[in-house]
Symmetry: C2
Subunit: 368 residues, 2 copies
């Protein structure tokens, strides 16, 4: 007796979107001293969120509200959209799966930048879609005109863009996004992953419009709110799209503590604003570190900085040298980003420790 | 511009697997005084789990281990299977979605009992499957021979059975399950939902066999461990099936606190055993309540008891009467179960309060 898999799933290759730091630690047989490879916040969570979760431990035997009513009501008020423009899911990762599933027939084309978010690609492949990749520009920005051209030519169902971008840290301003929306081919949904929205300058993002059927914008509590381990993201889109998710999403996927924590963090706007400020300081430290060693970096509007190691060989080696010294960072896998090492912003103490380890590893690389 | 949905999703009807108690509370404009409709544990979580989560709040800015390595290692040791026989997901709900997705081509038949778990049906419909329903027997047991016959006749990809069963509370012993496996048609995977496994008598469940390719068994931390709000379930199946889930599951779906709490609860076996004991006491109270009012009930091996209101009209009315008195219970929607009201086991205090409200509501029903 053998299981009879679906046509799509039987053709999906074995794949893992990310090898987590815990797996790397098991392989190397020791924990990392610095965890700066997953763009997790180094600044924790709001004390209000912490207190709210501690209090909610008394009710953790209860299921969560599958409508996420209070959180959506609060976000709607905060963002100036309707509750029916909002869907909550298990992080942006979970929502990307639902979006891909909603539109993808086997063989459909989905367009994204080469070297962009692996988990998006994982979902596309998992639902039988065909990925079409557009290279980043030489300056490590997403090439939006080329992405649009590819989408038009291929009849793409989705066009994915992270903005501010991961893993580069680059940003495309409001005018570029609005022009792209006007140029979007019929039948193609624009997936705008704004995980790092809070780190963009005020006014730099295109304004939200709940009635716009051309795009879905994705936000998360993982970055500025420091809640990566709580798995909570949300999407903002037109009512008809949200209603479609309602009939296929996992209704009880987000935990009770996560919802309570997100609400409490929204009640403490100074906290997230403080994280954004502290992250900007941290980026300046990391940039200075690069400069001090005559290395370039990509100006970033996120909680990480990509440092230019001048070749793919160097960056690969640098990740190994850092790992050997107990530091977890990541290296984007595709040119032109593959000559960089992506370093998440740590606390001042993390940064001081990282600077020492980095200098030591760089010495080994240069004397290598 | 309109979004172009996939063929499957565009044909999925609008549906909601469960209307949660929070929604009912919003509709009635007041919170429930007793929440006894979702089979949530009334006995909380292990103090060890609580302490572990409180300590882990310091690391909630970190993503979880997407391999759930420690938890799978621990469960493997506990259950006598290999780690590669285990998959962890966002509750049994999340895992059911992955299972259905793994095998279902549009139009494929999936067999389940009429009136069994709505969320399973939701996933089947959402992936374009065709549900074939087999009625419960008159004694409210799943009709396993009829389920097998339907699976064979229809060439079903999956046969779903909850055992101990929800919403009836009935149980099929080891011999019945083993006979069914031997009779399972080729190409049909047996989905054995054992959410209430801990409440079955020792030795009553079929032994676990990680090499058996005919079935997947699903367990949860939501019931005996009291962690419904943490969304953590697991599946036990042959390695090839688990490897298939690995290429389509949501890798970062389960939160960090959930994993830590589950591990800590496994370190406190007396806690879950105590819950099982206290639930058995509670069932006896609820049974006595039914008897005192000359009502029958279904003997249950779960954390709830279905009380016989003698007609579908009566049970529907009883749910309304209880809701009007601030008590949330559920009524199964399909005959022969639709004449019952399903009451989750509460604490002794809950039970005393429930007995009063029930008596009052029953008086209104009988004098109605």
């Amino acid at each position: 007796m053998s299981v009879s898999y679906s046509k799509i799933v039987s053709q999906v290759p074995a794949m893992t979107p990310f090898v987590g730091p815990e797996t790397l630690e098991r392989r190397r047989g020791a924990p990392f001293r610095l965890r700066m490879g997953a763009n997790e916040s180094a600044f924790g969570i709001s004390p209000k969120a912490r207190a709210a979760m501690a209090a909610e431990l008394d009710r953790v035997s209860w299921y969560c509200d599958p409508e996420h009513y209070e959180l959506r009501a609060r976000l709607a008020a905060e963002l100036g959209v309707a509750m029916d423009n909002l869907v909550v899911g298990e992080g942006i990762d979970g929502l990307l799966g639902v979006i891909v599933r909603a539109v993808t027939d086997p063989g459909d084309t989905i367009v994204t930048s080469a070297g962009a978010y692996p988990t998006f690609n994982y979902h596309v492949t998992g639902y039988g879609g065909r990925l079409e990749f557009v290279p980043y520009r030489a300056d490590c920005h997403n090439d939006l005109p080329a992405l649009l051209k590819a989408a038009r030519r291929s009849g793409a169902k989705l066009l994915y863009l992270a903005n501010p971008d991961n893993p580069s840290g680059t940003f495309l301003g409001r005018a570029a996004i609005e022009a792209a929306l006007d140029d979007l081919p019929e039948g193609c949904l624009f997936v705008l992953d704004e995980a790092y929205a809070e780190f963009a300058p005020p006014g730099a993002l295109a304004p939200l419009d709940g009635a716009d059927p051309r795009l879905i914008r994705l936000r998360t509590f993982s970055k500025a709110h420091g809640m990566a381990g709580l798995r909570l993201g949300y999407g903002i889109a037109a009512e008809a799209l949200i209603a479609t998710f309602q009939k296929i999403r996992l209704h009880f996927g987000v935990g009770r503590l996560s919802q309570v924590a997100a609400l409490a963090s929204l009640d403490d706007p100074d906290f997230a604003a403080g994280v954004v400020r502290r992250v900007a300081e941290g980026r300046r430290d990391t940039e200075a570190l690069a400069r001090n060693h005559d290395l370039a970096f990509i100006p970033s509007l996120t909680n990480f900085v990509a440092i230019d190691l001048e070749s793919a060989e160097n960056s690969l080696r640098m990740v190994e040298l850092l790992e050997a010294r107990g530091v977890f960072v990541r290296r984007p896998g595709v040119a032109p980003l593959d000559r960089y090492v992506r370093v998440s912003v740590g606390t001042p103490e993390h940064r001081a420790e990282f600077a020492q380890v980095f200098e030591d590893a760089l010495g080994a690389l240069r004397n290598g």
